[in-house]
Subunit: 144 residues, 2 copies
């Protein structure tokens, strides 16, 4: 790791962004991204290009979630040097169903950052679940 | 882009690696990775940790593919500075079926790199297809 201070900053940025997701705070969620974000999300589309398109997708996603939300980073690794950084982690995602039971699954997350006048901003994001080759279905039961 | 020469090097590295995949050349495929690669592949498992585990997975994948293989980068973007870089692209994957027809689909790819004494090496890789929320099925028909 070539720059511990930047890596620590990005770790803090990611943790704050996760808290914003749990709070369903769309402004705080979007403040994390650069205007030219290229996002590969786990669902629906191959990619979302630009903050405006991705904001609409986030609004759709937040609209689907009722009740308390689980959104946690595990096994986070950050690499940073100069004005470029990337991170990867396993993201525990879930929520409480109508019987009050917590349901969760693991997603994989990767992100790329650039240092700007306004601090580090995410210019790339990739969330996914792996799929089973025989059924073509996403594998939601896998454990790290 | 802060360092065009490094970004060009990584672009060349990725193109060579894609050629190695098309050639099913396991040694050339593995030369692209650092020993401590953390890979989130599109299928089967949440993650593969370390070159030994990922090599076994690659051997399994190459063993499944008969005939000519399609493996191409599109919309490639590289960010590099100092000893850290990342890239993302859409990867056209496919092959020729037993009727001689070419079948392909689009995957999303992200990768993280570190500059080593042996040149740039991939320390992180993420391949995926997005899934449909209603069916839980991977979406193989999406077009960029």
């Amino acid at each position: 790791m070539s720059n511990g201070a930047d890596e620590k900053q990005i770790q803090t940025l990611i943790e704050r962004w996760c808290a914003a997701v749990r709070d369903k705070d769309i402004e705080a969620i979007m403040a994390y991204y650069a205007p030219d974000i290229v996002a590969f999300d786990a669902i629906i589309a191959l990619q979302f290009r630009g903050a405006e398109a991705y904001r609409k997708h986030w609004e759709f996603c937040l609209g689907m979630c009722e009740g308390a939300m689980l959104f946690e980073t595990h096994q986070l690794v950050v690499h940073a040097d100069g004005a470029v950084a990337f991170a990867h982690w396993l993201n525990k995602c879930g929520g409480t169903d109508d019987k009050g039971e917590v349901k969760s699954s693991w997603m994989r997350a990767s992100a790329g950052y650039r240092k700007t006048a306004d601090g580090w901003k995410a210019v790339h994001e990739h969330f996914s679940a792996p799929f089973d080759m025989a059924s073509g279905k996403a594998l939601f039961e896998l454990q790290p």
